[in-house]
């Protein structure tokens, strides 16, 4: 039988039961390979459930540094009888199926084209442990030990990691290592180790880190100077504020008093959370909230207020699969239109699109400067894949000479020296951004009334059509200014001249870049551009103009970025070919390659509509 053979280049998937402690064992596997100098990318595919439902954990190992999802599965570790029937089906021909053979495999599931390796995990742990919880936990550690032998993973590195992970809980080290040894031994005694797939130490990691995007965003908010965080728990954004709090407890305690240089409030809902952010920002503190699509829906009214009243507001949207409750534990990039035009009336919101934890950190911190400069909401668009999975990332970096840019704010002294009347909405500099004052600045000058209703340049309530239009037009001037304030796109030229282009953003990046290399090897040259901000920087329009055909790769059904490009840049829709992957799992490089090769990219509207005589009579 054919056997997949590779060194440092494979995809392994673990099929577990939710709530059995498998994620930490699987993480041990990924991190050990990372410590052997090989880039890895673990992805947790989990259910909306605390205990009992099937859950998967996929690790891509690749010493060329491709860390997006590749597609296909070379090794399956099947520990969950609930999902074993589907798990065995998805293994690539020639791949390996490692399973718990305490119960023999149903003969109907047997496949001739894959290598099947049975390990009696339940038997071993039943023999070794008496406590039911231990039996469950160590079963996971036993298969990691077996994989160490099967894939030639350095056992010492594995042991070292166990020591690091249980620092402070030393009692747990010895039993964990014992469990690893049990698995290792069993594999050595029963199989030809290593398999055709194996790992070998490399030096490809440099100073990279493994970090979740949500932790990086929370830390970015710390470094960006946020002092007020208000939030409402919602998957997959919850860990943003939890991580902010974790770091704040370490880094933001006033040494003199032991008190907090920050405040965190768990609000009663998302409306209240964003209201607190607007209130705190209005009053001069840097403030943020984190949520996901359903939360952004609820926050719409306040986002419109903050746009119109011009209050800096920072929001992190960790997108998940909608609509409605959708698939709350699956990833998607489907909140773009919701966020870009959040709220009723003519509104446009500033967005940023990070693609790595390093960018989450940088954009998380920069969002506060940007919001203060532009005096408007800034929404950082992450997603579940980026937020909740550990990503192979360049290390975080901070320049100590950086000072915060609080934007146009008049100080007490500036007000004191001012001869003319202060006008909150006077466009003194012609960039559409006016000067604000914080409450309590000056006894007699600079106070104004903030409102969501129309007002004149001196913030006085008015229903004058003329004043209203002047204000709405000025907001468009500000929008033009914003185009050059948001992060510029990153261009990745093909190795030879081409009239084909590709645009992508966020977590599509790693898979798209791998796909572009694969296509290049096949002789298909495509220039690429990664969008990092909205409104679109002038570079985006130029890139599209330079190409005859541009693929837009997105993880949503309706081609939302494409719609925004057509809408904002007045581009002929025929030119923009949507490549849309929206099954809730991170898009793979193979999927993008196939989509580019198999069609002219128009995979929209494939469903046939059978007309019925049920149209509305009007």
């Amino acid at each position: 039988m054919q056997q997949i053979k590779s060194v440092n280049d494979f995809v392994i998937r673990f099929a577990n039961t939710n709530g059995t402690g498998s994620a930490s064992a699987n993480n041990l596997f990924a991190k050990t390979i990372f410590r052997m100098g090989i880039p890895v990318s673990p992805k947790n595919v989990f259910p909306s459930n605390i205990q009992g439902l099937p859950t998967w954990y996929e690790v891509r190992v690749n010493d060329k540094g491709y860390v997006g999802r590749r597609g296909g599965i070379d090794i399956m570790v099947a520990v969950n009888p609930q999902s074993i029937a589907q798990d065995i089906k998805v293994v690539d021909p020639g791949g390996y199926f490692v399973f718990d053979n305490t119960k023999p495999l149903d003969l109907r599931l047997h496949r001739d084209d894959i290598n099947t390796l049975g390990i009696p995990l339940t038997d071993i742990s039943r023999r070794e442990y008496t406590d039911p919880r231990q039996r469950q936990l160590f079963k996971n550690v036993i298969y990691i030990g077996a994989l160490s032998a099967l894939l030639d993973i350095e056992f010492d590195v594995l042991k070292g990691l166990v020591h690091d992970q249980f620092k402070g809980k030393e009692k747990l080290i010895a039993p964990n290592i014992h469990a690893l040894e049990l698995g290792f031994q069993y594999a050595q005694e029963n199989f030809d180790c290593p398999l055709g797939i194996r790992v070998e130490r490399r030096d490809m990691v440099d100073d990279h880190i493994l970090m979740e995007g949500n932790a990086a965003l929370g830390l970015g908010a710390i470094y960006g100077g946020a002092s007020v965080a208000a939030w409402y728990p919602i998957t997959p954004s919850t860990s943003v504020v939890e991580q902010f709090e974790k770091y704040a407890k370490r880094l933001r305690i006033d040494p003199g008093s032991g008190k907090c240089n920050y405040a965190i409030v768990q609000a009663e809902d998302e409306l209240s959370a964003i209201g607190m952010v607007v209130g705190a920002s209005w009053n001069g503190a840097r403030s943020f909230t984190a949520t996901s699509g359903p939360g952004v829906s609820l926050m719409n009214e306040f986002l419109g207020l903050a746009y119109f009243a011009e209050v800096p507001t920072v929001l992190f949207d960790i997108q998940r699969a909608g609509p409605s409750t959708g698939m709350p534990t699956r990833s998607q990039q489907s909140d773009l239109l919701l966020a870009a035009y959040a709220s009723h009336g003519d509104t446009k919101q500033v967005l940023m699109f990070p693609s790595t934890p390093k960018e989450c950190f940088e954009m998380g911190a920069a969002s506060f400067d940007l919001a203060d400069r532009l005096q408007t909401p800034v929404i950082v668009m992450s997603d579940l894949d980026l937020g909740m999975n550990e990503h192979f990332s360049e290390p975080l970096d901070w320049d100590d000479s950086v000072t915060y840019d609080r934007g146009k704010v008049f100080s007490e002294q500036e007000l004191e020296e001012m001869a003319e009347r202060y006008g909150r909405y006077l466009d003194i500099d012609g960039d559409g951004i006016c000067y604000r004052t914080y409450p309590g600045t000056h006894p007699t000058k600079g106070s104004f009334f903030t409102r969501g209703s129309s007002r004149d340049e001196y913030a006085k309530y008015t229903e004058s059509s003329e004043e209203y239009v002047i204000n709405m037009k000025r907001l468009l001037v500000k929008w033009e200014t914003a185009k050059e304030y948001v992060p510029k796109p990153v261009i990745r030229p093909a190795s030879k001249a081409t009239k084909d282009g590709m645009i992508y953003f966020g977590t599509t990046t790693a898979s798209a870049e791998e796909a572009l290399d694969i296509l290049s090897d096949k002789g298909v040259a495509i220039d690429a551009l990664r969008v990092r901000g909205f409104p679109f920087n002038s570079g985006v329009e130029e890139f599209i103009a330079q190409h005859d055909r541009v693929f837009i790769v997105e993880q949503n059904r309706d081609g939302q970025l494409r719609t925004m490009l057509i809408n904002e840049c007045e581009i002929n829709p025929q030119k923009l070919k949507p490549l849309l992957c929206y099954d809730g799992l991170p898009v793979t490089a193979r999927w993008i390659v196939d989509a580019v090769l198999s069609s002219d990219g128009n995979n929209k509207n494939t469903g046939k509509v059978i007309p019925l005589s049920k149209e509305v009579k009007v």
Partner: protein
């Protein structure tokens, strides 16, 4: 607007401790209906702030949407104000207060804004004991949309539309007591002698202070069949007693009969005196306040005055443990941990 308030003031207007006259505390001219109870409340806020000698710019006025929420434009013109969205004033006030604990926060809301669309936020701001005056201008109807019943309208009460309200009313005072409010009072816009000391006491209280002020709507709910009309309220009002507010270090001048007064010292050292009508009412006892309200209600009366006060409470800042300095004044040195800490974090992620 074609009319304006004359700028001229008597040259010898009385000044407060800071040297300000009452004029420094006034705002723009009201655009509410002539005779609206809300304007009397604005006047009471102006008087209270003047008498308390608060720096006008150190007050932040926050409101939601509705007739009541328009009023912050009509008082304290030298203060920043924020007319936010319907029913969400509490969240904006919470954020603002967290940003700068040194300002005085006055939130103005209405019965629609607090008891209907904003019921959730009202309940939670009470629970958090945010240090603010939360003043409800309660007229039992929706004025700006022309007189629909609100959730505080009594059963059977009928405004200008003429249809009696069939639903149970929400009493914001009893609700706030249940939710742990640390200062609860009810008043009437037509009784400034009661309202002004209550506002002064509420502002001086370091915690959440609710004053539910019955404030008749002259246009839509001042009918003979309404229980929120001037006439009905005047005829059915009862009071817990007479409240005096004595600022810090001021000698208590009034004589009072022992046994019928209760004296509460606030955090800043000022003192509240209640000359009680009802000997059984204990300002420190929630149950006693709830009983007093219900007893009056059974008699068809409206109990006003100070109902409950806990001067030793912890406000939100104390609960979450923030530094004394306003968070908005913290600089990079306090906020940004710097590259060295980041190097250590990077190392922990390898």
């Amino acid at each position: 607007m074609t009319y304006h308030r004359p700028e001229f003031r008597h040259p010898e207007l009385p000044t407060n401790e800071l040297g300000y006259t009452r004029k420094h505390y006034e705002g723009a001219i009201s655009t509410l209906c002539a005779g609206c109870g809300h304007d009397s409340i604005s006047a009471a806020i102006i008087q209270a702030c003047f008498e308390l000698s608060i720096e006008p710019h150190n007050v932040a006025k926050i409101s939601g949407i509705g007739c009541s929420s328009k009023t912050p434009t009509y008082f304290l013109g030298n203060s920043h104000g924020f007319n936010s969205v319907h029913g969400r004033m509490p969240s904006v006030a919470t954020g603002a207060n967290l940003a700068n604990r040194d300002l005085t926060y006055i939130g103005v809301s209405g019965d629609g804004d607090s008891a209907s669309i904003g019921m959730g936020q009202f309940a939670h701001v009470v629970r958090r004991n945010l240090n603010m005056l939360y003043l409800v201008e309660n007229n039992g109807c929706y004025g700006l949309t022309k007189g629909q019943d609100s959730a505080t309208s009594d059963i059977g009460s009928a405004g200008k539309k003429g249809t009696p309200n069939p639903f149970e009313p929400i009493d914001l005072c009893t609700l706030a007591l249940e939710l742990g409010a640390t200062f609860v009072a009810r008043s009437f816009s037509g009784d400034k002698d009661q309202l002004i000391p209550l506002i002064k006491a509420a502002i001086s209280h370091s915690g959440f202070a609710l004053i539910d002020v019955i404030s008749p709507c002259v246009t839509f709910n001042n009918t003979a069949t309404s229980t929120k009309s001037y006439e009905f309220v005047r005829d059915h009002i009862d009071a817990t007693g007479k409240t005096d507010f004595i600022p810090v270090q001021q000698e208590i001048m009034a004589d009072y009969e022992p046994g019928f007064t209760q004296e509460v010292t606030l955090h800043d050292g000022s003192v509240i005196h209640l000359y009680k009508k009802d000997e059984d009412l204990d300002l420190h006892n929630r149950l006693s306040a709830l009983q007093a309200i219900h007893k009056c209600k059974e008699k068809g009366e409206i109990l006003t005055g100070l109902l409950y006060l806990d001067p030793d409470c912890e406000d939100l800042h104390e609960i979450v443990g923030t530094v004394e300095k306003p968070l908005r004044d913290l600089d990079e040195a306090a906020l940004c941990p710097g590259s060295k800490s980041l190097d250590a974090i990077n190392q922990s992620l390898r």
